[in-house]
Amino acid sequence: MEISTCTEKMVQIIANSTLEKSLKKTLKEVGVSGYTLFDVRGDGDSGDQSGHLEGDSNILMMVVVPLKTSQNLMEALNGYLKKGHHLMVFSVDAEVLTPSKFG
């Protein structure tokens, strides 16, 4: 293949929109400079997140990062879970076309 790709981790974090600022800070701290944000709805243990009110809306943050960074990120996010915050976090292997991002 002529096109060079590299394998990275796509991490997705689902959280209440109230945590947006705080999560962005955490991303910065573990060295992630790019992310993509979705405004989503959802349901789970903490009740229906219908997106009608500020306290009632979810976001999904998606970051594509190298394995090592993903582990650091996971560790940092674990801190949120310990405090009692409702996060849903998982990662998936992804083949990235833009390896320049991970120099």
């Binding site: 929109s17 109230t18 009110l53 500020e54 306290g55 009632d56």
Partner: protein
């Protein structure tokens, strides 16, 4: 005498329509973002209104109103906390988060009360609007302090000091207190109030068609959505439990009664104005406080406080609270 008739105002009727639409499982639904946009508009409009009237208000009364608003903002959630913690029925974190909602105000309930008064052509003072703006922050602070105390106790259960201080989660006060004062709704309400107060009246007049004239119609639209949201929460009643649902009815009665007393006796307001103060006491915020509790008291279950504020207390106040507190204020100011 104001009977059921007084409920036949468009705002309340649209609220009922929303409830019914949800109960019959209609697929009626607001598009993404519309409810937030409307609540943004309502806060801005009410702030402008309050500010414009504040500009020619009696400063003495205004300060008194602010003072008693702060007192109510601290007092009501403390009473609520005591009730919830009585015999340890509700754990401390949930009690703190829930009660904070009752110290603050539901703008939609407040506006429905205003619509109720205007439809019945009953005059009211504008001080309660200022009080509403003021009451957002104290309640949040009370909630955070109560939760912090619970956290301390939790990490240090016996007094023998076996858990060392280092392992106790440190309360980061500054981001939490910041939240109490820079909360989006607080800034929007307060900011609009200041704009309304300092902008020249001629310039403000150009803004009125947007902020005043279409206001009542927009409120109807908002209440339609809130009716649907309130009814949606009914299915969570069994998770929340009878104790909390009962609290969602008892607490507004207590808060409303305090409000009537503050309005009639302490502030010497008219019956209309006193009703509005009662609603300040009786209603539970579901716009400003939930995000603050989400962030500051993550240990509490958001489903509890949203169900109570939106699913129990809000409909209770719209249907029963408003006419009830009006009667109460009439009777009390008569004696």
């Amino acid at each position: 005498m104001l009977g059921l008739d007084s409920l036949l105002i468009p705002a309340v009727l649209f609220f009922a329509l929303g409830v019914i639409a949800q109960l019959i499982k209609s697929d009626l639904k607001f598009p993404e973002g519309m409810a937030k946009g409307i609540s943004f508009y309502l806060l801005m409009a009410i702030g402008l209104k309050g500010g414009a009237e504040l500009a020619h208000a009696d400063l003495g009364v205004a300060f008194q109103a602010i003072f008693w608003a702060i007192v109510m903002g601290f007092l009501v959630p403390l009473i609520g906390y005591a009730l919830l913690r009585f015999r340890d029925r509700i754990d401390a974190f949930n009690a703190a988060a829930i009660t904070a909602h009752y110290g603050s105000v539901s703008a939609a309930t407040f506006l429905t009360a205003v619509a109720f008064l205007e439809a019945s052509q009953i005059a009211h003072e504008s001080y309660p609007i200022i009080m509403m703006v003021i009451m957002e922050s104290p309640a949040i602070i009370v909630g955070l302090i109560l939760a912090a105390m619970a956290r301390k106790k939790f990490s240090n259960p016996s007094a023998d000091g076996s858990t060392n201080a280092a392992s106790a989660p440190q309360m980061e006060w500054s981001p939490l207190l910041k939240e109490a004062f820079t909360n989006g709704s607080v800034i929007l309400l307060l900011g609009s109030m200041i704009v309304g107060a300092i902008a020249s009246p001629e310039a403000m007049e150009k803004v009125y068609p947007f902020s005043h004239e279409i206001f009542m119609g927009v409120l109807c639209l908002f209440l339609l959505d809130m009716g649907m949201e309130a009814a949606k929460r009914i299915k969570s009643f069994k998770n929340v439990g009878a104790t909390l649902v009962a609290f969602g009815v008892i607490m507004p009665l207590i808060g409303g009664t305090i409000g009537v007393f503050v309005g009639v006796t302490l502030l010497d307001l008219s019956i209309g104005g006193s009703l509005l103060v009662a609603i300040l006491g009786a209603s539970a915020s579901y716009i400003a406080v939930p995000p603050a509790m989400r962030f500051g008291v993550p240990e509490a279950n958001p489903s509890y406080y949203l169900t109570l504020a939106l699913g129990v207390t809000f409909p209770f106040n719209v249907v029963i609270g408003i006419p009830l507190f009006y009667q109460m204020a009439t009777w009390y100011s008569g004696i």
